[in-house]
Every structure is written in C-alpha cells, then in structure tokens.
C-alpha cells in the first residue's frame, strides 16, 4: 500500500505544526514501515549556522515513526492526549546538510501496540546515511474530565 500525504494530512497524524512539522510528505508506507521525505526549510528551528544538524535525525525519525503510530491510533482510540519519545540508540555520521536538502527517512516498526511502539530507522541525504537509531514512541491518554465517568467504572 502506498500513501502520499499532504501537509494537511500529516497534521492529522502528528501533533506537530510548522515549523516543527519537518516531514514534507510520506512517499510510501504500509502498516510496518514508512518512507518519508523532508525538505529542510529556512525556518527550520534546528538549523545551526544555516545547516541542519545530523542529530536532527532523531526528530525526523520520531516524526516518521509517529505517522505510523498516528495512523494506528486513528483506527482505534482516536487522538491521544500527548506523546513521548524515548531515544534507545543512535549513530551519527558527519555531513553538511544545507537548507533545501531533501532528506529521506525510513522508519520500521519493531514491536509494540497501538499505544506505544519501538521503531528503528535511518535518515539519508544524497544517498549518504547520517543517522541511524531506535526510538520508542508512546501516545499518552488524554486526561479525563474531573469526574468519574461511566468508562472509568465499566
């Protein structure tokens, strides 16, 4: 299954908004993996001296994995109350990444549920991999209203 998302569609899957929404579109995805594209914008908040840092691959992978988790949530429990990302492992390689660079991010689901999942993946620029890592993403439940609900006592 191939899916190409617009920015509007991405905003339904991720809580991020520009300029923190760094994915430009999803090139392809299925239940277990996704291939995303990020075109580095001039207002990217991670830029240092007009270069995108290779450590920004953490954020890119988190957002790519988030599209998979977000899609899963939309099929089940709806919008989460928030999300957390835990960095399990990562490796970096030095690379100069200018504004306008097209970065390809591949994320693969390793284990988990609709609520939290482990992803691994990498980010590349001009076919040169500069980031590889493993992240845990978890969707947090929204805080219930301040009274006991029927759902609580079910």
């Amino acid at each position: 299954m191939t899916a190409v998302h617009t920015a509007h569609e991405l905003e339904r899957l991720l809580p991020h908004r520009a300029p923190m929404l760094m994915l430009t579109r999803v090139l392809s995805s299925d239940n277990d993996r996704t291939h995303c594209l990020s075109i580095i914008q001039a207002n990217n908040p991670l830029l240092r001296a007009d270069l995108f840092p290779v450590s920004g691959g953490i954020e890119l992978l988190a957002q790519a994995g988030g599209t998979l988790l977000g899609g899963r949530l939309q099929n089940t429990a709806g919008q989460p109350g928030g999300a957390i990302v835990q960095i399990k492992t990562f490796q970096l390689a030095a690379l100069r990444i200018p504004v306008g660079a097209e970065i390809h991010i591949h994320a693969r689901y390793l284990a988990g549920t609709a609520d939290a999942a482990l992803f691994e993946g990498e980010a590349s620029y001009h076919a040169q991999q500069f980031f590889h890592g493993t992240l845990m993403l978890a969707a947090l439940p929204p805080a219930p209203a301040n009274h006991t609900t029927a759902e609580d006592t079910a």
């Binding site: 239940n31 277990d32 998979l68 899963r72 089940t76 429990a77 109350g81 957390i84 835990q86 689901y109 390793l110 284990a111 988990g112 549920t113 609709a114 609520d115 939290a116 999942a117 482990l118 845990m136 978890a138 947090l140 439940p141 929204p142 805080a143 219930p144 301040n146 009274h147 006991t148 609580d152 006592t153 079910a154």
Partner: protein
C-alpha cells in the same frame, strides 16, 4: 503494525511488596510484613549496603515472591535522591580531608546502586534502569514501565524507594524510609490492572489528595498499595503526585 495483538492501555499487577522499617509507621498505614529483611544479600554485602538499597531490595524480593516469578526481570528502580546518605558521608569525609576516600562508599554513592546490587544478587542480566523524578518519580516510572510493557517486555519489576535524608540537608523535611515494588505484566488477565498514568489539568476534587509524597516521594505509592489491600472490585482513580497538575492513574480491581 501487524501481529501486535489487541491494543490495550492497561497493564496487570502480578505481585507487590513493600518495606517500611518503621513498624509503627507501617502499622499506621495498614501494612504488615514490611520489615527490613534482605536475605537475598549475603551478610558481607548486606553490611556494605546502604539502608536505601536494602529497603529497595527487600521490597523487590517480596514483590517477586508475591508474583511467583523469577527475579531475572527487566527492572526499573526510581528514587528521588538515591544514595544521599552515602553521598553525605563522602562529602563529610572530603570536608574533613579524610583521604583517601572510601572506595566502598564511592562505589555505593551512585544512583544505580540499588539496581546494581539487585542484579548481582539475583544474577539477572536483564535491563536495569535507575530513574529520578522527585515528587513525580512514581508516576514517571509507572509510565516508563507501561511503555516497556507495550513494546519490549512481558513483565517488568518496578521499585520505588527513598531513605530518610540527612537532617542537615533538608532540615524542614522528615522523610520516612520506605520502598514499594510491583511486578507488572503485559497481560491483565484476572489481575488488578492499571491504565496508563496521565497528568490531570487540575486537581480532581473527587480524588483524594494525600500528603504522602511530602513524607517521602516513594510514599506516593501508599494510596495504590492501600487500594490493592482492600481488594474492592471496580475502578478507582488514584493520585500519584500532588501539585496543580497531579499525575493520576486508574486502578481496576477484578
């Protein structure tokens, strides 16, 4: 995401154990069998370890026995200040220029001391984490355990502990030493279960506020452990921390 099973936000409590060396305090809180017995540690090791480490290991041991599981579980140890008594001894020695410093004290002063002794005593090669989160420690450790159970672990041992602080560090605080441990299971089955903890946007007037975290951050576990003892069926929301946006969790008893 295939073969993930039925999505669930709940985790089971397979066993629990606690250690409150002050018998009067334990009795006041309604707990029995809370003494400081650490038979798991060989006598020589026991003499070297701090009170904080011993209460943590005593509680962990009880939880594993209650859950009837092997002790070689992935474990999360959380403490607000960890080995502050040991650190205080080291700082006092430095102040008095009593060199060389004790290697044993130095070895025992790190935040993962309890986790390290637990892994050595049990021969566990499973992952061990040492966390700190002050008053939110229990809530955040529970969240970490929930995440691990959703992703990579079938069972997790969670140990929350804190020893009394040196009086001259926090003279206005009178922390009471205590440790609480849970063996948490990915599958709820017929077990008491916990939903994912959440941070309320404001204190909930229908959820009892406790002063336990002020007594010692680990004491934030007391409402949950008291609820587990009562064994009343149904769901109830419990406070895990205080403040304007307190952490809470829903406990469902079978």
């Amino acid at each position: 995401m295939t073969e993930t099973g039925t999505p669930t936000a709940a985790i089971g409590i397979a066993g629990s154990g606690l250690c409150i060396p002050d018998e009067a305090l334990a009795s006041t809180l309604g707990f029995t069998a809370a003494g400081l017995e650490t038979g798991l540690l060989p006598p020589m090791v026991r003499r070297r370890t701090s009170r904080a480490t011993r209460v943590a290991i005593a509680a962990a041991e009880r939880a594993c026995v209650a859950a009837d599981v092997a002790r070689q579980l992935p474990a999360i140890f959380v403490s607000a200040v960890g080995e502050m008594q040991v650190t205080d001894q080291l700082c006092t020695a430095i102040g008095r220029q009593e060199y060389p410093l004790s290697p044993t004290l130095f070895h025992n002063s790190v935040h993962n001391t309890a986790a390290g002794y637990w892994s050595m005593a049990t021969g566990s090669m499973a992952s061990m984490q040492a966390m700190a989160g002050l008053d939110d420690g229990f809530a955040l450790a529970l969240l970490e355990a929930w995440c691990q159970l959703q992703t990579v672990s079938e069972r997790v041992l969670l140990v929350v502990y804190d020893a009394a602080m040196p009086v001259h560090f926090l003279p206005d605080y009178h922390w009471q030493t205590g440790a609480f441990a849970l063996v948490l299971d990915r599958n709820t089955g017929d077990l008491p279960s916990l939903h994912c903890p959440f941070q309320a946007q404001s204190p909930d007037p229908t959820v009892a506020v406790t002063d336990f975290p002020a007594r010692n951050p680990a004491m934030a576990c007391v409402p949950l452990f008291q609820a587990l003892q009562q064994a009343d069926g149904g769901a109830q929301r419990l406070t895990l921390s205080n403040g304007p946006t307190p952490w809470q969790v829903t406990l469902v008893m079978p």
